[in-house]
């Protein structure tokens, strides 16, 4: 059973007169620029939240994304819908931020909080995906932090946002084979980490 797709694709966002807003923004209208930010913000923040482990950086990163959008607005020729173009900028900015963060080489059972340890044990003993417990966000972030930026970006989009490989290709500019190989390698690493965590959680 699949969980319903959670993150709307850029195509899901209705084309609500972007051309008119863009024309006014390019002409220097501050009102139109504020309108553009307000309309694109939900789309940008969803991407930021699904890529960024720490909520503290959320606003800072959104601001960086919007500044890039405005500085490149003159180069937007309308070959793709505006939300799609914005999504590419957002994903690449998040990826750059992830690259600057240190990779945590190993996750030990002692690094988990009590809730996360409970989540891990309950998840491992759950019969199916559906019976697994909820509220494991912190645990997942710690797991993903053991991967490099590329692996994190691919797994977040593939397994957490449930995007297709083609969508990820469009958003990142990477080839399909790179994405598939990276996903397989990352899943293997995580499976290994989870096995180690599970074995160290068992009483001797």
């Amino acid at each position: 059973m699949r969980v319903k797709k959670m993150q709307p694709t850029p195509a899901d966002i209705p084309d609500a007169g972007w051309d008119d807003v863009l024309t006014r923004v390019r002409a220097g209208s501050e009102t139109a620029a504020r309108d553009l930010v307000d309309r694109l913000y939900p789309h940008v923040i969803r991407i930021v939240r699904s890529h960024l482990p720490r909520a503290a950086d959320e606003e800072d990163l959104s601001q960086e994304i919007f500044m890039k959008i405005f500085s490149r607005l003159d180069r937007f020729r309308g070959e793709v819908p505006l939300p799609h173009w914005v999504a590419r900028i957002a994903v690449n900015t998040c990826y750059d931020r992830l690259r600057r963060q240190k990779v945590r080489p190993e996750l030990r059972f002692a690094d988990l909080s009590e809730d996360e340890a409970d989540f891990l044990q309950a998840t491992m003993t759950a019969e199916t995906e559906e019976s697994a417990p909820r509220e494991g966000a912190g645990m997942v972030e710690k797991l993903l932090a053991t991967l490099n930026a590329t692996e994190q970006t691919v797994l977040r989009m593939l397994d957490l946002d449930q995007k297709s490989v083609k969508e990820i290709c469009d958003l990142t500019g990477w080839g399909a084979s790179k994405i598939k190989v990276t996903a397989m390698r990352a899943r293997r690493k995580l499976a290994e980490t989870l096995r180690k965590l599970e074995s160290s959680s068992q009483p001797a």
Partner: protein
């Protein structure tokens, strides 16, 4: 999991964790996705500041180039207006008429 990739077994640990995370996210919904108060104003102000700086930088760059061009033209004009070398040649010796 994604249909583009070989499907891992449903009981794979990461699949369970990912599924639980997706369910958790879905349960939380899409709350507070509106821009915080003043966010758009801050962005637009920063953007306008950058535009102003860019315009000023552009003006400065072209002013500098114009100054160099003016100096080059001035130097050229001065060089062209220099008297010819022949002009500085010695005057012919005065001729004396003997009575």
């Amino acid at each position: 999991m994604n249909s583009d990739l070989p499907t891992p077994p449903a009981d794979a640990p990461w699949e369970k964790v990912a599924a639980a995370t997706r369910a958790d996210r879905a349960a939380r919904g899409s709350a507070d996705e509106q821009a915080p108060f003043g966010f758009s104003t801050r962005i637009v102000a920063a953007w306008q500041e950058i535009r102003r700086n860019e315009r000023a930088a552009l003006w400065a760059k072209w002013s500098l180039r114009a100054a160099f061009c003016s100096m080059a033209i001035a130097a050229l004009v001065v060089a062209l207006q220099r008297p010819e070398r022949n002009d500085t040649a010695l005057l012919p010796l005065p001729a004396y008429e003997l009575p």
